[in-house]
């Protein structure tokens, strides 16, 4: 079977940037380094490998946002995606929540026939991880989250997912939504020739209003703050000093009691 794969992505503050809350109680991302969400990068890499293996014929990337988000779409095209779409959510972008994004994606997907949605398991800015399961719900498709392995099977997928105490392997029938853990696939580096080539690839903008979707969020941020800082600690010379400071019972009290499993 050869299918089309859709990879929804998000532009986020780079993982190496420490975000701060301004005096006015906002997160100002102006001037901060922005990147393709790392989990989405892994999802895209897996999609490209499925295409290279002949499982998929076409890999599309899509994001919801405004014009600046075109840069991560160009990155995705340079990695190897065939085409990219920016769903322009205009002034609604700042308050867009997971369900609004899932609704937009579902409405967008009505225009084509996709066999697999592969996205990151969470965006590293809001750390919610809601879109994949929500989109699967709206489509009525099976889902597998936090995937570290995706294999094609006759009319379906075998997906290995990180679980609370190990892994769970699911069999999904037909078109599915899978969200990627960082271990799903190590993203390829973007090369200069491919960046040049990506400029010729189709990147179109779609006005969110044309999708006829409610964008009002069901959740509203009332206040942002930095977490309380921990009291500064001390350096101790060795474990004898550590145990004296800590109290040996605190560390060793469990050993003899055969702590419950």
């Amino acid at each position: 079977m050869t299918i089309k794969i859709l990879v929804p992505v998000k532009r986020v503050v780079d993982a190496n940037v420490h975000v701060r809350v301004s005096a006015s109680g906002a997160v100002d991302t102006t001037g901060l380094k922005m990147s393709l969400n790392p989990f989405d990068e892994c999802a895209l890499e897996k999609a490209l490998r499925l295409k290279e293996a002949g499982v998929a014929s076409h890999v599309s990337v899509v994001t919801c946002g405004q014009a600046p988000s075109q840069d991560v779409l160009r990155t995705a095209l340079a990695m190897g995606a065939d085409d990219a779409v920016l769903i322009d959510t205009g002034s609604a972008t700042a308050t867009l929540d997971s369900l609004a994004v899932a609704r937009l994606l579902r409405a967008f997907m009505a225009s084509d026939d996709y066999g697999l949605v592969l996205c990151g398991k969470q965006a590293i800015d809001d750390d919610t991880g809601g879109v994949a399961a929500m989109l699967a719900a709206l489509l009525g498709w099976p889902q597998a989250l936090n995937a570290s392995g995706v294999e094609v099977e006759p009319d379906g997928w075998r997906v290995t997912c990180g679980d609370d105490a190990g892994t769970a392997t699911w069999r999904l029938s037909g078109a599915s939504v899978v969200s990627a853990d960082l271990r799903l696939a190590d993203p390829r580096r973007v090369t200069l020739p491919n960046i040049v080539k990506a400029r010729q690839k189709p990147l179109r903008t779609l006005d969110a209003a044309t999708l006829g979707v409610r964008l009002e969020p069901a959740t509203r941020v009332l206040q942002l703050a930095e977490p309380a800082a921990r009291q500064p600690g001390i350096k101790v010379a060795d474990t004898t000093a550590l145990l004296a400071a800590l109290g040996p019972e605190r560390l060793f009290q469990n050993h003899a009691t055969g702590a419950r499993a």
């Binding site: 809001d126 597998a144 990180g162 679980d163 105490a165 600690g233 010379a237 040996p248 560390l251 499993a261």
Partner: protein, 323 residues
């Protein structure tokens, strides 16, 4: 309106995480019910202090009899969406089941979804972290029903005795046919449950090998602690994924967190900085882990580990001279 908590049942008991979510739910000041998906979990759930009703969801497993009791997140989401009219909050711990079923149910029921809630302010206002814990947000939900996963370590467990909830069996629901669980594999080496252990011993890239991580795991076992690991150590193959502590792994808040050879990337700190006492051992005096550590030892982690192993043994002999 009421609050419904998803009751997880493992190894013959309601999980510690579930008991903590019951505490979180009770903080809304509204009646709390618990939904279980296995018949044997109903009585233990009814014993939880403060719970009014236990709902027993059952699945009509006509074609899925090989995995009795294994309810998929898709099927659970359908059940939760069907109950959404009776609840203003449907809550679960921030573990695999809740993370998968709750956002799906929220989409089906047109509800709000919040992940990894760390505090409850009132029935509609909650606290959760953004940007790997760098930002703390107060959020309000405006929909009739909210689905939320809760960070278990941020709440104390409710008592698992003393309750006298009624038990109601719900009408069996049809399983979602397109998803089937093939197998579950527990990772080796994780011993105690990371999320509820009193002590967590974690290793980073500084461990240098899987053998050394095994030695650290053995020390953790003798302490009665859980083994954790940084992403670098997991990526290097020293420890299983399930042991990963951090933004994309598990969040822990034990009484004591011992970090061996962990540099302390912000993504790791996000998973452990609420620990009561943090002890860090690293050969680099400038490692960021020291910025959150109450006690730091700059030095060779293997020497420190050897000393602690010796001191544990000496303590054991002193406490139990006859054994």
């Amino acid at each position: 309106m009421r609050t419904l908590v998803i009751g997880e049942y493992e190894s013959g008991a309601i999980t510690d995480a579930t008991l903590r979510v019951v505490t979180a739910a009770a903080q809304r000041g509204l009646p709390v019910d618990v939904l279980v998906t296995r018949a044997e979990a109903a009585n233990p759930a009814a014993q939880i202090a403060g719970v009014q009703h236990v709902l027993l969801a059952t699945v009509d497993f006509a074609e899925n009899a090989d995995t009795p009791g294994a309810i998929t997140p898709e099927t659970l989401a359908t059940q939760l969406a069907a109950l959404a009219n009776e609840y203003s909050l449907i809550a679960a711990s921030h573990r695999a089941t809740g993370r998968a079923a709750l956002p799906r149910a929220a989409a089906l029921a047109d509800g709000a979804f919040l992940a990894d809630v760390t505090a409850v302010l009132d029935p509609q206002r909650f606290v959760r972290s953004l940007y790997a814990g760098s930002v703390v947000a107060t959020v309000e939900t405006t929909s009739a029903v909210t689905f939320a996963t809760f960070r278990a370590s941020s709440f104390a467990p409710a008592a698992d005795t003393g309750g006298a909830a009624s038990i109601t069996a719900l009408a069996p629901i049809a399983p979602f046919a397109a998803t089937r669980l093939l197998e579950r594999q527990a990772a080796p080496q994780t011993g105690r449950d990371l999320a509820s252990a009193r002590i967590v011993v974690s290793g980073g890239r500084g461990l240098g090998s899987q053998e050394n991580m095994t030695r650290l795991a053995s020390f953790a076992g003798r302490l009665g602690a859980a083994l954790g690991a940084s992403r670098a150590a997991v990526d290097a193959g020293y420890a299983p994924n399930a042991a990963q502590v951090g933004q994309t792994g598990k969040t822990v808040a034990p009484e004591v967190y011992l970090a061996f050879g962990i540099s302390g990337a912000i993504q790791h700190l996000a998973g452990m900085k609420d620990s009561q006492i943090i002890v860090a051992v690293n050969k680099d005096p400038d490692a960021p882990i020291f910025s959150v550590a109450d006690y730091g030892i700059v030095g060779d982690l293997f020497e420190v580990l050897a000393q602690l192993e010796g001191q544990l043994e000496a303590h054991r002999l002193a406490v139990r001279p006859a054994s």
